[in-house]
Subunit: 355 residues, 2 copies
């Protein structure tokens, strides 16, 4: 432990959740730049022991005591908990990196994707930096690279969102439904899935096994879902394009982890697939996996557990030389949540190191 | 049987397939306008008995004998079989209604959706009428109604396609994979699904349980799939808009039956959601199911086994008053295949009745 003296203290707030679990895995895999790592969760989880960097660490209850003396605090907790405790951590001197929706659209809080807008992380008057929603993160690294070259004009996005975007409850709900339907004829007759699943829809409004559900989040104005509004608003903020036209439809699919999306992106002028390929092949954080002749395109089954944004099915629109079509996949628990949060925390720790 | 004298003779070619099975069900449910109904399939199925209109009918082997004396022949067979036998049936005097891809883009063959362009069925110099691809059919009835009022300018479509679009083999493949993954942790670690499924991917290039696969059909130019080209070309032909801009990405999802799609449709001028609702609520063959506040939107689990095109999640684009967003669902074996074919056959029989 003495070798860690002088290094910054990190707090992981929400250490026991689906994203928290991946955070601990990432902290054990990445270059170890941290001094103490404190694991913090709700009082009912306090005293549990979790493994990080190969060591057992006891979980502390979220409170002022646990947040005192922290240099960087990564939060992955519900919006209301973040809204209450992130400012407390910041007032106690920590830089907070928050993965909830509580602060993303706050004009005094930067919304950061290290591969796209790392500079934004330095301007944080509230001491809080926000990490985007997992659906935005499934595409934004690839889009940022294309935008830097071509200039984005408008976007049409359709998501294929994994159930772990709704946390452990989402995973457990799909697993239970899968066991119920396997080996049966369920899913073949109208309404039979819904009857069989009964109240077992968990965090989803409809059965998700053998089904797709065109809804994520809560209702906003004019029929839009909160998830769809997040993708639009966050994409505009990260790319610094407050007027960007963005049309999104979010759909839940029976996949455990890894969000996918189809993207129709129109740019300021004519684009070529060859140049787009060059950009994506060299963009940090992006893997181009696109050779349909050889059966190569990304799918969640290949992408789950990996860090980058995977891009395939790259085509120029047949009827519009300014538009590209893409299919993107990103692990919603890694880049979509824990990884991006950890990358921002490392960016902040790096500033301190060079200060 | 005597009561049927004078009524047209119908042949169902491909009676034993996934679509053929639904055709027999539809023929048993619809008003009985037919005289003899002949069931025709490959020689290896000849002699099997299938039930239609409550009667056992022996399957005949596809050949000139079986096609002689037929007034209307509905074909649901692979493209190469249709290419060979549809002209034979037509030469023997039948009007052929073909559900394969063999003739859809033939300029001398009309491509018909009875709710959208019934008039086109009368101009058939080859004696063949084509029924569109199931993915086109999942949205075209709703789009046709909106186009008639607003004038369509361009379309961006992303599909969520069921495995039965690939026939019985598609259904069996997903069922087998579902049994393999249920109760396991498969789908959580990179590549584990692919290893577990091994060669058991059936007609799909990747595992489809707990996954989504951005590919359907075969490779066409510049990275486009045949399925994507069909949606574009067929939509243009049915709507009589040869220059319509259409961008499509087709994705297979782990659903047994019922294709879904997100549609971003831009029109010639400003549109309102209120007027679009009125149009869709009264359009024949369309059900508007759109009240997210009450948890109402269509999903495949509700739509499977039903005839109409279901439309939900209707919104006007936030940044473009000329564009609408929709989520559509349609049973790919019914309206997407057997039902549309039967409706065209009934249209033709109706002409004869009034001739």
């Amino acid at each position: 432990m003495t070798a860690r003296t002088g290094r910054p203290t990190l707090a992981v707030v929400g250490a026991t959740g689906a994203v928290g679990t991946v955070m601990l895995k990432i902290l054990s895999q990445h270059a170890d730049i941290w001094g103490e790592i404190r694991l913090i969760a709700s009082p009912r989880s306090a005293g549990r022991k979790l493994t990080v960097r190969g060591e057992q660490v006891e979980v502390m209850a979220l409170g002022e005591e646990a947040l005192t003396g922290v240099d960087v605090a990564m939060f992955d907790v519900p919006d209301d908990i973040a809204r209450r405790w992130a400012p407390v951590a910041a007032a106690l001197g920590a830089v907070v990196v928050d993965n909830s929706g509580a602060f993303r659209m706050d004009p005094d809080v930067p919304l950061v994707v290290p591969e796209v807008n790392p500079h934004a992380a330095r301007v944080r008057s509230r001491g809080i930096i926000a990490s985007p929603n997992c659906t935005t993160l499934s595409m934004i690294v690839a889009l940022g690279a294309l935008h830097a070259e071509f200039g984005l004009r408008d976007l049409v996005v359709s998501s294929y969102q994994a159930v772990s975007g709704a946390g452990r409850a989402g995973i457990e709900t799909l697993r239970a439904q899968m066991s119920l339907v396997a080996g049966t004829e369920l899913g073949t007759n109208p309404g039979d899935l819904r009857r069989a699943v009964g109240d077992g829809t968990g965090p989803f409004p409809e059965p998700v096994a053998l089904n797709v559900v065109p809804w994520a989040g809560s209702l906003r104005e004019d029929g839009w879902s909160s998830e769809e509004m997040k993708v639009r608003d966050e994409t505009r903020k990260i790319l610094g394009l407050p007027e960007l036209r963005v049309a999104v439809t979010c759909v839940r699919v029976p996949v455990i982890t890894t969000h996918s999306a189809t993207v129709h992106a129109r740019f300021e002028g004519e684009v070529t697939v060859d140049r787009a390929r060059e950009i994506l092949a060299t963009a940090p954080g992006v893997v181009l996996c696109d050779n349909p002749e050889a059966g190569e395109f990304p799918t969640p089954a290949d992408v789950v557990g990996t860090d980058p944004t995977w891009v395939g099915r790259l085509r120029r629109a047949l009827d519009d030389p300014t538009a590209l079509e893409l299919f993107v996949c990103g692990d919603n628990l890694r880049k979509g949540a824990a990884l991006n949060t950890a990358q921002i925390a490392e960016l902040v720790a790096g500033e301190r190191g060079t200060a």
